[in-house]
């Protein structure tokens, strides 16, 4: 049609349009944010493994994750492992889940004990202060510090011992378990793990084969597994997912139901509000096809606008959330956007269906009712 009736109808009542689009957009944004929260949580919890920058990790046999389990290896085998691997650099870390308490704050944290003079296992981004140089020092995540009202220079308690906060790290925050760093020695003493470590970290020489290093170590050293950092991240991610997926899925389901209901009903009213005008068109001779096309076009126009608004809102909210509340990591993936788009457009089509059926049955006489 030359006259863009659909577009005119959609944009005629600006106030109504804005509210409808915002309602649908907000529902969509809600779904995208939930999906983003989930992805973000997994990313945050596997951040350490993903930023290690080492080639291989040696763990206790059967232990494949950092976050999801505890691993202990005696330290004596270190030289042997390093040689077998042909490592250029090697380090040790201890990892444990502990609780950080200060005044009213009580947070589970992932404690990493690393060797301050080695180049491996340290935090990858510093916000304030400096990295560890000595025992008795601690690095806290910036958000955790903020929450617990701790500054560089303060003293904190951990597992009954005192540590001086010498630096605050970035990209280590998570509402579930932020990271905290102390020296390996301190970790051993605090956790009662004398002469043991959790993981050996290996950075291979250029040209040293990863596969051969793996084979060599596993063949000659008992009770260990050799894994890559991304494998650890995977295991951790899946383990957390096994725990978190159910409750998150429940929430997602509720959110999707809300989203569908809001989208469907909003689109439906927008269209049924114009039943009278559609009846008029029918009265002046518009065919069923022309009418249906108009309804669908109106629906899709609103759908596309709402979708754009929803996606925009989601990304905007995500940025705002992460900027102001760093314990939340929100990662909105392309797949989520595609899913949301299909949902939105599907909903608008479905919600156009009922008015179309109603219109088919409506007597054009509606137009006569003054």
């Amino acid at each position: 049609m030359s006259v863009p009736v659909a577009r005119r109808n959609v944009f005629h009542h600006k106030g109504k349009l804005v509210l409808s689009v915002l309602s649908i957009g907000a529902a969509l944004a809600m779904i995208l944010l939930l999906l983003g929260f989930r992805e973000g949580l997994y990313a945050a919890m596997t951040a350490y493994a993903n930023n290690l920058g080492v080639d291989l990790i040696v763990a206790q046999s059967g232990v494949k994750g950092i976050v999801s389990s505890s691993s202990t290896l005696p330290i004596e085998r270190h030289a042997q492992i390093e040689e077998l691997a042909g490592a250029q650099e090697a380090g040790h870390i201890i990892t444990a889940g502990v609780i950080f308490t200060r005044a009213d704050t009580k947070m589970p944290v992932i404690l990493i004990g690393y060797e301050p003079d080695a180049n491996l296992g340290e935090p990858w981004k510093l916000g304030e202060g400096r990295t560890l140089l000595d025992n008795g020092e601690i690095l806290l995540d910036t958000w955790l510090a903020q929450r617990a009202a701790v500054q560089v220079g303060d003293t904190v308690d951990l597992l009954g011992r005192q540590f001086e906060v010498v630096g605050l790290t970035r990209e280590t925050a998570s509402w579930m378990s932020p990271y905290v760093f102390i020296s390996l020695k301190d970790a051993q003493e605090t956790l009662g793990l004398v002469n043991a470590v959790s993981f050996h970290l290996l950075r291979l020489r250029d040209g040293a084969g990863e596969a051969s290093a793996r084979q060599a170590i596993e063949a000659q050293v008992d009770g260990v597994d050799v894994i890559r950092p991304n494998e650890i991240a995977d295991v951790d991610r899946r383990a957390i997912a096994a725990v978190m997926d159910r409750p998150i899925s429940v929430l997602l389901l509720v959110a999707i139901i809300i989203g569908i209901a809001v989208m469907g009903l909003t689109s439906y009213t927008a269209i049924t509000d114009r039943i009278r005008e559609y009846s008029l068109l029918k009265a002046v001779g518009a065919s069923g096809f022309q009418l249906n096309r108009l309804i669908v076009t109106e629906g899709l126009t609103m759908g596309v606008i709402s979708l754009s608004v929803g996606i925009g809102l989601a990304f905007l909210s995500a940025s705002l959330i992460m900027a102001n509340w760093p314990q939340f990591n929100v990662v909105i993936r392309a797949e989520s956007v595609v899913l949301a788009s299909l949902l939105a457009l599907g909903m608008t089509l479905v919600s156009a269906f009922l008015p179309m059926r109603r219109l088919a049955g409506v007597d054009p006489i509606e137009a006569f009712k003054a």
Binding site: G15, K16, G160, V243, I257, I258
Partner: protein
């Protein structure tokens, strides 16, 4: 005016359904997410609550079981038993570890209990036995059914195979999955000393004053934190609560925004449609406050209906989720419901602002237009 508001509402049935359902669903999301966390809290402290030990000993500086580690010197048990009023003291080993079942890695907490221990093992068995011979493990029945396991099947812990000798009940919740193994076996698998322990569970003589016993233990046993059972449980609850507080608040805000937009849209549209009537009332002499009363009454009736439906749906959802997924306990306390009502009222008032603005600017001569 109230009658007018009520009539306006019920005449437009579809619109009434939309606003009621929209608000109801927003409330469901809020109630369910709060309920999931409340339920998670309860599951998390199930072990602490159900083990019949009024006093718990743990590593100094440790106040939590969940997501924490605790290591006690072996002599802690004997020292504890010497304290006046102590009936017996049982040492259990506790660590976070992954149970491997096929390709799946299940995050869980493993409790190492001595076979002849009087307390500390599973308190409700549904199949098999809890003898905890070396090489045996007791897992929760829900975990077993979820992963297709039966008595006699193997699971892998720290790289070693253990056989399922018993199925317990009440040990599988979101983020809190407990399994029980022989204490020595666990220590060996984890590379800890054979007499390692995490918690000492203390029972008192029937005529002893629990607080007095606790005080003696604090004096007599070095390097420990002594906690009453209830306080220990509360401490863990608080941990979960704090962990969830932020995310619950974030989701609540999002849900309320969606709810607000739904109310705003429906009331605004309703007001638009009734422009002639409001104009007529204005022309007849009704001042702004009277018209505002109509709009606000409509908004609040919608909100009230939505709230009632939402509360009913929330409880229904909680039931549904619990039966579909026994590891998810959705606890909705009446207080939680009541707490939301003022917020809902505020949201409703805000949603009415746009319609109220429209009425304020309404030109009474609209009645003369066709």
């Amino acid at each position: 005016m109230i009658r007018l508001a009520w009539l306006n509402l019920v005449r437009e049935r579809t619109r009434l359904v939309i606003s009621t359902v929209g608000i109801a669903l927003a409330l469901v999301l809020i109630m369910v997410i709060g309920g999931i966390f409340a339920g998670t809290e309860e599951f998390a402290v199930a072990y602490i609550k159900n083990v019949p030990a009024p006093i718990w000993l743990m590593q100094a500086g440790v106040e939590n079981m969940h997501m924490a580690s605790s290591f006690l010197a072996p002599q802690t048990v004997s020292l504890a038993e010497l304290a006046p009023g102590v009936r017996d003291a049982t040492s259990v080993l506790y660590m976070g570890a992954n149970l491997e079942v096929g390709d799946d890695s299940i995050i869980g907490y493993i409790i190492g209990v001595e076979p002849d221990a009087v307390i500390g093992g599973p308190w409700d068995m549904v199949a098999g036995n809890a003898d905890l011979a070396p090489g045996e493990i007791v897992v929760d029945q829900v975990l077993a059914s979820r992963y297709g396991l039966v008595l006699g099947d193997p699971v892998t812990l720290f790289g070693s195979e253990l056989t399922i000798a018993g199925l317990s009940r009440g040990n599988f919740g979101v983020g809190s999955s407990f399994a029980f193994v022989n204490k020595q076996t666990l220590a060996g698998l984890a590379g800890a000393p054979p007499d390692a322990g995490s918690f000492v569970l203390v029972r008192v003589e029937s005529d002893a004053d629990i607080d007095a016993v606790a005080a003696s233990l604090r004096e007599d046993v070095p390097g420990v934190n002594v906690m009453r059972q209830a306080a220990f449980a509360d401490s863990d609850r608080e941990l979960i609560r704090q962990m969830g507080a932020d995310i619950v608040r974030a989701m609540n805000i999002i849900a309320y925004i969606v709810g607000l937009l739904v109310i705003a849209l429906t009331i605004y549209t309703a007001t638009l449609e009734r422009s002639r009537e409001y104009g007529m009332l204005k022309a007849l002499g009704a001042d702004f406050s009277k018209l505002a009363a109509v709009v606000l009454t409509q908004a609040f009736i919608s909100a009230a209906l939505g709230a009632m439906l939402g509360i009913a749906l929330s409880y229904a959802a909680a039931q549904l989720i619990g039966s579909a997924s026994p590891d998810m306990l959705v606890l909705i306390a009446p207080a939680d419901v009541v707490n939301q009502l003022p917020i809902l009222a505020l949201v409703t008032a805000l949603a009415s602002l746009l319609p109220l603005a429209r009425i304020a600017h309404l030109d009474p001569t609209i009645v003369f237009k066709a």
